[in-house]
Amino acid sequence: MSFTVSSEIVNKVAILSLGGSLDSSSASVFQAEIQKVAGESPTEMVLQVSELTFMASAGLRMIVFAKQKLGPSVQIYLVKPQDQIIDTLQMTGFIHSVHIVDKYPV
């Protein structure tokens, strides 16, 4: 399934909705969206990922990019990641650096 991303800023919170497959060919689309919301200096970033079916290391790189772009104090939430994506976050230690939640606001 091809990758989709859309974003909005609500009360200084950047909310990005991701769907489909995030691999090295689609990561640049995600990166462009991160850059777009970074311009609004959000205080938190929420990734709605329940429809994200696949995420390669290129997707992890974009999470690092977001953290670097937005600053270490900006918390990143992943809302409802699928089990296999949670496995990847665990395997790579990313699980300790993002918040996995069932809904946002928490």
Binding site: D23, S24, S25, F54, A58, L60, V64, Q68, T92, S97
Partner: protein, 149 residues
């Protein structure tokens, strides 16, 4: 035991990652892999295929590269092999991130090596061979045994 083999050839372009995942997902379902195994196989092949396309061909200045994907079902295992003639690269000799690297705050992390680590950990066996000027990255998933969580 009868081995069933199919071979497909792909252009060395990131556009082929999605069709490869679709093929592997379909194959996984046909042989009875569970969802976690199928996803792990797709992830592993995706990471190594990305490296082959990016580093083996693009960065080596090879513009019309192609690689083969060989899928073999033999008994209770599925073996997928990427055969390419790009720049030699052995993922087994690649330095993997340490526990310390993996526990660093994201904004301080060096991100290299994650893809290779994910590839190696997402299948039951991962092997690499170099012969006759071709890289062979081999992924094996066994489908009689329950994968440990």
């Amino acid at each position: 035991m009868e081995t069933q083999t199919q071979t497909r050839t792909y252009a060395a372009s990131l556009d082929v990652l999605e069709p490869i995942r679709e093929l592997l997902t379909q194959t996984g379902q046909e042989v009875g892999l569970n969802k976690k195994q199928t996803y792990g196989l797709c992830l592993a092949v995706d990471e190594i295929a990305t490296n082959v396309i990016r580093h083996g061909y693009d960065e080596a200045g090879i513009t019309d590269g192609k690689f083969d994907l060989i899928i073999e079902k033999n008994g209770n295992q599925l073996a997928v092999t990427i055969v390419d003639d790009g720049r030699p690269f052995n993922p087994l000799e690649h330095i993997l991130p340490t526990e310390e690297d993996l526990s660093m705050p994201l904004e301080e992390r060096a991100i290299g090596g994650l893809g290779v680590m994910m590839a190696r950990q997402s299948v039951d066996e991962f092997n690499y061979e170099f012969s006759e000027n071709h890289n062979r990255n081999i992924f094996i998933v066994k489908f009689s045994n329950e994968i440990e969580e």
